[in-house]
């Protein structure tokens, strides 16, 4: 191989290969550009072109032997993304959640929109499980918003009332209490449902009482100090809705007091939105109550959720590369959404000063 041929061959190679070739041959080769690098290599090996050539051939052979890697940048990103097997549920395999491949189109993203055909109501397995567990002990339910926690509350209340037990249902907000009062009155009949809030008392002797958690706490304090409330004797079930309020800086203490002083013969049903450590709550309840506490949790939404991005100019694009939300992979943004948002940030940036 003549010098010219060798030069041509070198020129065809990617610069990374040239750098590997230059290792040990050319001082500070990483500073040189491709053309200069070839020049330096030839200059260095002018006495030993055969050696250079054979090294080049070995490198080329190595390159051939390497498995072919698809070079889409997204794929590479996915490999680099840290995976936390403990914290995040692994991406479910299935049509929608496939993580690789090209980004989803808007049409696909919008697919399936609409009203499902009417179906007879069948409780989800977790709902059945929660109700069954409630027969044996306390239950903590931690499921995503809108999964049907109310169904569990209603069924549990119905069963307890059939056993002639009193049921207390508490919610953190007066507005929610009122909504539930209306809802339960419709379901069980007005004479069976009562409400006690700070400023409203109706049908206080009903078997199903709706109240704010503070009121229940006060009732329990009164009972503890001897002013026995008759209803607490027959109390069979206490439902604490939105019990993630346990972590509320101002009012969380009320939930703890309520749970601590809840009579032991009453079952506790804690309904909470998805939280990070429901097992801790269940362990805590098991440790202070006479029965063991079952934890019912799941992260799958009944109605699947998709995320989109709406640009100020009215353009709607999917937010993530996949139609479904890629749980555990916050960086898999749809390229179009990413581009539009970057453009938005640039346009709205206050002049002369970077944001934040």
């Amino acid at each position: 191989m003549t010098t010219d041929e060798l030069e041509q061959l070198l020129a065809q190679q990617p610069v990374s290969l040239l750098h590997r070739l230059a290792r040990g041959r050319v001082h500070r080769h990483f500073r040189a550009g491709k053309r200069r690098l070839i020049e330096l290599l030839l200059q260095h090996s002018s006495q030993n072109l055969a050696g250079l050539e054979s090294d080049l051939q070995t490198l080329l052979a190595e390159r051939q032997a390497l498995p072919q890697r698809p070079k889409t940048p997204a794929r590479r990103k996915e490999e680099l993304a840290p995976v936390h097997p403990k914290r995040h549920p692994p991406p479910t395999t299935g049509g929608e959640s496939e993580t690789s491949g090209p980004a989803v189109s808007l049409a696909n993203w919008l697919e399936g929109i609409g009203v499902p055909p009417p179906q007879p109501f069948v409780p989800d397995p977790w709902q059945v499980e929660a109700l069954a567990a409630l027969a044996e002990g306390d239950v903590v339910v931690s499921v995503p918003t809108g999964s049907g926690k109310t169904y569990v509350a209603v069924e549990a209340a119905r069963r307890a009332m059939e056993d002639n037990r009193t049921v207390i249902y508490t919610s953190p907000l007066k507005a929610l209490s009122n909504t539930k009062f209306t809802e339960f009155s419709r379901l069980f009949g007005t004479e069976k449902v009562g409400i006690l809030t700070g400023d409203r008392q109706e049908n206080g002797q009903a078997p199903l009482l709706i109240m704010t958690t503070e009121i229940l706490r006060n009732l329990l304090y009164d009972a503890a100090s001897g002013e026995i409330d008759v209803r607490l004797d027959t109390l069979g079930l206490v439902i604490l809705d939105e019990s993630q309020y346990l972590a509320d800086p101002e009012r969380g203490v009320v939930w703890e007091e309520t749970i601590i002083f809840c009579p032991s013969q009453a079952r506790l049903l804690l309904l909470s939105a998805s939280i990070g450590n429901p097992q801790d709550i269940a362990d805590w309840l098991s440790s202070i109550r006479t029965t063991t506490c079952r934890l019912i949790r799941h992260n799958k939404r009944t109605v699947p959720l998709r995320a989109g991005y709406l640009h100020p100019n009215g353009k709607l694009v999917p937010l993530f590369k996949t139609a479904a939300i890629p749980y555990g992979h916050p960086n898999q943004l749809h390229p179009e959404a990413k581009r539009l948002f970057m453009q938005y940030e640039e346009d709205t940036m206050p002049s002369g000063r970077p944001r934040r």
Binding site: K174, L246, G252, V253, I275, N277, N313, G314, G328, P330
Partner: protein, 618 residues
């Protein structure tokens, strides 16, 4: 480009893609109201059939809550099928909007993110326009749990096959907070257990002091503290294992022994060489005067000057070399000092001697014979004797002659660090296990000081009724009752004071004038709250809030609309203020056994508050 999408365009876009009904979460109440106003000039009008459907639902609600009937938003809602729902509205209006949403009459609702938990109606789509939320006084990023709570409103069971969470950017949005929130795992929650005065009183009423600790131990707070303590205990066990090689040696507690010995040793006064130079160097340095011929590692030279340089441990000298160059070198580099000195006329600047003597020295250097006599320098090796006190204190230690001294010296650093860590862990474990109990005892001390508890932690007569006040600022309220601040006051004044105690929002506004009686009483309350501030966070005690509540009770002919006109407060806030005051009043009413007069005033106040909007509503 506008900083965020226009509400009309937003709703249009959602309608086009069949993404309605939607809940649009906006930053503030004002944003919601402005979004509604922006529809004033929009040309889109609902078909008559849908307008009638809205009317029908509204009529149902109005039958139950008459105050909805003249809500100013009704015409807009009818025309465009979009409504606003936030804390500034009356509960009855919110119920109406929720009902409309449930019946599927509305295309969109503008709501505030702050009230996301209270928005108890689902939709097909949720529009998120911000990544932070106003908590207390400043904005904090939404947590993963909050983002999922908001996004969770999308997708109605049985009515939708899929739900949509749409991000519509506005200024100050951080997309990464939202994407992390949507794809992440919610945060673990922590206990926020605090010990309040009513809690202490009620616990001591029902249980003797000895049992309290076991009751506090049942809290989630203690559960979590125990978890942390267990973690530390495991670390402590690991430390014990690590400490094993450092067990008792010739003395049992050799670590302490070595530590004190080491300290005593270090206390010896500094020797006469502050810079730790070798005695040879010190002795020789005196001879390196300008003009002296010295031998360096390579060749000879004439010293031109001595100096100390900041970066150098040793003193430095400038040397003239035979080739005429001036070099700097540390005095320690000098190998030999010769018994030959030339005259040298020193100067303050380079080359450190006058030009004439520089030339002369150069010449002399080249002319030097190859062998030169070396200057004999005596070096004293004897070290100064230790002061007597130190010798005596060191004499108490067996260490200097102890056979395990090298081992002790070697291991001390590791062993000492491990032992300190051990002590730290033990202390934190104790603190974790007992912190709740300590906080409880602090509260007990305060209550004893004010006479609600006897020294043996029994409830006094005062404590017996004070435990029935189970609201915020309970100490202030019970102290006010004890100071008879409320004796003989009108129901209106009582209401005003309680309202100002109950109100904890510092949004500014314009409010009516306050009556002199209430004003002077409020002054007293402020003074008392100030004096109680070490024990209880004082409330805001705003005079304008007191005045508006007083007005509502004092003037039975005042209509709700009239009251709202007096102030810039939103009617929802006004409603909440009065509802909260009602709660406080009903707590006062519970004292009828011990304070019949006050309880009577409270019940009269309750009756007076409950009229108009406050009567019709839960």
């Amino acid at each position: 480009m506008p900083p965020s999408i226009h509400p009309v365009d937003l709703i249009d876009a959602l309608r086009q893609k069949h993404l309605t009904p939607a809940i649009v979460f906006l930053t503030s109440r004002r944003a919601c109201d402005e979004a509604m106003e922006s529809f004033d000039h929009a040309s889109v009008v609902l078909p008559p059939a849908r307008q009638e459907a809205i009317d029908a639902v509204l009529q149902q609600v109005i039958a139950q809550y008459p105050s909805v009937a003249d809500h100013p938003l009704i015409p807009t809602v009818r025309r465009i099928g979009v409504a606003a729902h936030h804390a500034g509205h009356l509960p009855s209006w919110k119920i109406a909007v929720e009902e409309l949403m449930r019946q599927g009459c509305l295309d969109a609702v503008f709501a505030t993110t702050t009230l996301a938990a209270g928005v108890d109606f689902p939709a097909r789509t949720v529009v998120i326009t911000q990544s932070s939320i106003r908590k207390a006084r400043d904005f904090t990023d939404l947590t993963i749990g909050e983002v999922q709570q908001i996004a969770g409103r999308a997708g109605r069971r049985g009515k939708d096959q899929v739900g949509f969470a749409v991000v519509a950017p506005s200024p100050y949005i951080d997309l990464s907070v939202l994407t992390k929130g949507l794809t992440g795992h919610p945060e673990p929650i922590d206990s926020q257990f605090t010990i309040t005065y009513p809690m202490v009183l009620n616990l001591l009423k029902a249980h003797p002091l000895e049992q309290i600790q076991s009751i506090l131990a049942k809290s989630f707070a203690q559960f979590q503290l125990n978890r942390r303590a267990e973690l530390l205990e495991r670390k402590l066990d690991a430390l014990h294992v690590q400490m094993e090689p450092f067990g008792p040696r010739i003395c049992t507690d050799w670590i302490t022994q070595w530590q004190t010995f080491d300290q005593a040793r270090r206390q010896r006064p500094q020797r006469h060489q502050p810079r730790h130079e070798s005695p040879e160097l010190t002795a020789r340095f005196h001879f390196m005067t300008p003009g002296r011929v010295v031998g360096l590692a390579r060749g000879r030279g004439v010293v031109l000057r001595q100096y100390r340089s900041k970066g150098q441990r040793h003193p430095m000298i400038s040397v003239l070399r035979p080739n005429g160059s001036v070099t700097e070198c540390p005095a320690a580099a000098v190998v030999e000092i010769f018994d030959r000195v030339f005259d040298c006329e020193e100067t303050a600047s380079f080359p450190w001697c006058s030009a004439a003597s520089f030339d002369e020295l150069c010449y002399q250097l080249t002319e030097l014979p190859p062998r030169l006599p070396v200057l004999p320098i005596l070096v004293s090796h004897e070290s100064a004797p230790l002061p007597d006190t130190v010798v005596q204190s060191l004499g108490d230690f067996p260490c200097p002659t102890c056979p395990s001294r090298p081992a002790c010296q070697k291991d001390f650093a590791t062993a000492h660090r491990l032992r300190q860590e051990q002590h730290r862990h033990v202390k934190s474990i104790q603190a974790l296990r007992a912190s709740l109990w300590h906080r409880f005892q602090e509260r007990v001390d305060v209550l004893q000081k004010f006479g609600y508890l006897t020294p043996s932690a029994q409830l006094t007569a005062e404590g017996e009724w004070a435990r029935l006040i189970r609201i915020d600022h309970s100490l202030l309220i019970t102290e006010l009752i004890r100071a008879e601040a409320f004796s003989g006051v009108e129901p209106a004044v009582l209401t005003g004071v309680l309202a100002s105690i109950a109100h904890d929002d510092d949004r500014p506004g314009a409010f009516p004038r306050i009556s002199p009686g209430l004003s002077s009483l409020l002054g007293q309350v402020r003074k008392l709250a100030e004096s109680l501030s070490p024990y209880e966070e004082p409330p805001l005690l705003r005079a304008d809030i007191a005045a508006i509540a007083e007005r509502w009770v004092a003037d039975p002919n005042l209509t709700w609309i009239g009251l709202c006109r007096m102030t810039t407060m939103a009617e929802g806030d006004l409603y909440r203020l009065l509802a909260r005051t009602l709660e406080f009043l009903s707590q006062i009413h519970a004292l009828h056994a011990t304070h019949p007069g006050l309880a009577d005033t409270a019940s009269r106040a309750i009756a007076l508050i409950r009229r108009g909007v406050l009567e019709e509503l839960p």
